[in-house]
Amino acid sequence: MIQQLFGYLSLYIPEVICVILMTTLLVAESTVKDENASRGKIIGYALAVLLVTLGFLFSNLGEAPEHIFHNAITIDPFSTLIKIVMVVGTMGAIFLSYSSKDIYPNLKSEFSIMAVGVLIGGMLLASANNMLTLYLGIETLSILSYVMSSFKRDEASSTEAGMKYALYGGLSAGVALYGISHLYGALGSIQFVEMVAKLPSLQGTSLAIVLVSFVLFFVGIGYKISLFPFHMWTPDVYQGSPIPVTAFFAIVPKMAGLAALIRISMIFFSEVQVLTVSWVGLMIVISAMTMTVGNVTAIGQNSVKRLLAFSSIGHVGLMILGVVVLNDVGIRAILFYGIVYMFMTLIAFYITSHLSDMYGTDSYDVFRGLIYKHPVMAIIMAAVLFSLAGMPPFSGFIAKFNIFSVVIEKKLYGIAIVAAINSVISLYYYVKLAKTMIFGQADGEVKVAGFTPMNQAVIIGLFIPVLFLGIFWEKVMVISGNAVIYIK
């Protein structure tokens, strides 16, 4: 028994390290005397430990998949890969928080505590194998996110963002929970595997109850990854939160929610005909609406943060098309998209953050004539925008291409056309921003203070994958292809 427990723990080292990191950060934050001097050390410590976590995750990637802790948690290559993406995203956000002026100096180490906490919730969600772990994962993720979005506590906008997030989040979690409770009643268990076993025997009323319950349950996850009817909070929260928090929200909770959505879809909806058909239909409609709403609304925006929020809605809408096909190729496409999206989002937010720190606003104007002041940064930003739009030499193209190919392979031509039209729309507003940057008139030769050699080096380092995954994508594609979900 004890031996088995230690065997389980050896697969669970990354999460354990994160929990230890969070507690030690909490102690360090509350005991240090000279705050200004030790802040860099605390953040450096957090980054170093996350790097160690990353090492353990990479070593887990090759392990055989297993259910641990009485089937509560699944450690499989799929969840491990999602966790790798989330850890890199967290490291990026923590590094950005160190130089950002958007976070109060005395709250910087608290940012890393909260970020690691959300990361733990995301890890729980990504490898959840029963409804209880799933619910706990969603709530750990959400409750700390509410705090993070109201981090600028002296400003009405940030507090309002946190409040809206908390109210929408509480509502959707409650509705999802109500759905889960009826699923438990109809299927007799909270373990995914045992629930699926009951599905084929359902008939009449109980099948209807299960269908409705799944729709209610979907509200909870759909809200976390901001799918169409539940996306209303996203632009407000993204705009009100400090930029490092926004960058964090665009990556970690989204990837965790996507992981949960993929796992649920793969486990529950490949068995029974009625459920599969209705789920696929629902997902296609929601994906089309999400993409269209995200991209069309992004056109009229004047705040870059809001623009990136709507563009992230559009990207998630495209990503869930990989779920619609319900096979391993679709998952591979989503994972590759997720990896690429993480790097692109981080760069876009890094550059926006340094510019808006300088000018105190995040409207398009801060980008005006960037190419005359910082040519390298302007070119990288333009390349990232083209990559987000899915232009060929960059990795964004390969990511979108994969999604299109799995959808067309399943002969879902209608949704493929909608997705293609949306790509064109998205190109318009990305190019508009690039145009402001390159052809706009600069307001002088003032350099941006945020672009220190260190920060520029990090941005260039993050840009390397965006560029090279567009050309040498086979290796990462093989890794994503190996990351299959372990169900039985």
């Binding site: 706990l136 002296d154 009405a156 507090t159 109210l167 438990y184 007799g188 268990s189 925006q301």
Partner: protein
């Protein structure tokens, strides 16, 4: 003798009342109360199903977790509402108008 149906009806009523409170009331504290009602509807469902249908302990454990998480969520929610009150000096939801298109 109470049957499963009575519990389900009560929990449905709680759920609907919670939703209506969240939509109709303009006071933020009342909206937080609406969330609590919805969470309690789910918890009641879990216990009732556990007692009458499934005969295992999953439901009981789940409802305990719901109570704990609801407390944590209410604490964070109220803290944010207090901050909002200190800045705006009101807890009317229509005053939250800084962020919009």
């Amino acid at each position: 003798m109470m049957s499963l149906a009575s519990y389900l009806i009560i929990s449905l009523v709680l759920f609907v009342v919670g939703l209506v409170v969240m939509i109709a009331r303009k006071n933020i504290v009342a909206i937080l109360l609406g969330i609590e009602l919805i969470l309690n509807a789910a918890a009641l469902n879990f216990v009732a199903y556990s007692r009458y249908v499934t005969n295992n302990l999953d439901g009981h454990i789940f409802s305990l977790f719901i109570i704990v998480v609801a407390a944590a969520e209410a604490a964070v929610g109220l803290a944010i509402v207090i901050r909002f009150f200190q800045i705006k000096e009101t807890i009317h939801i229509d005053e939250a108008t800084q962020l919009r298109n």
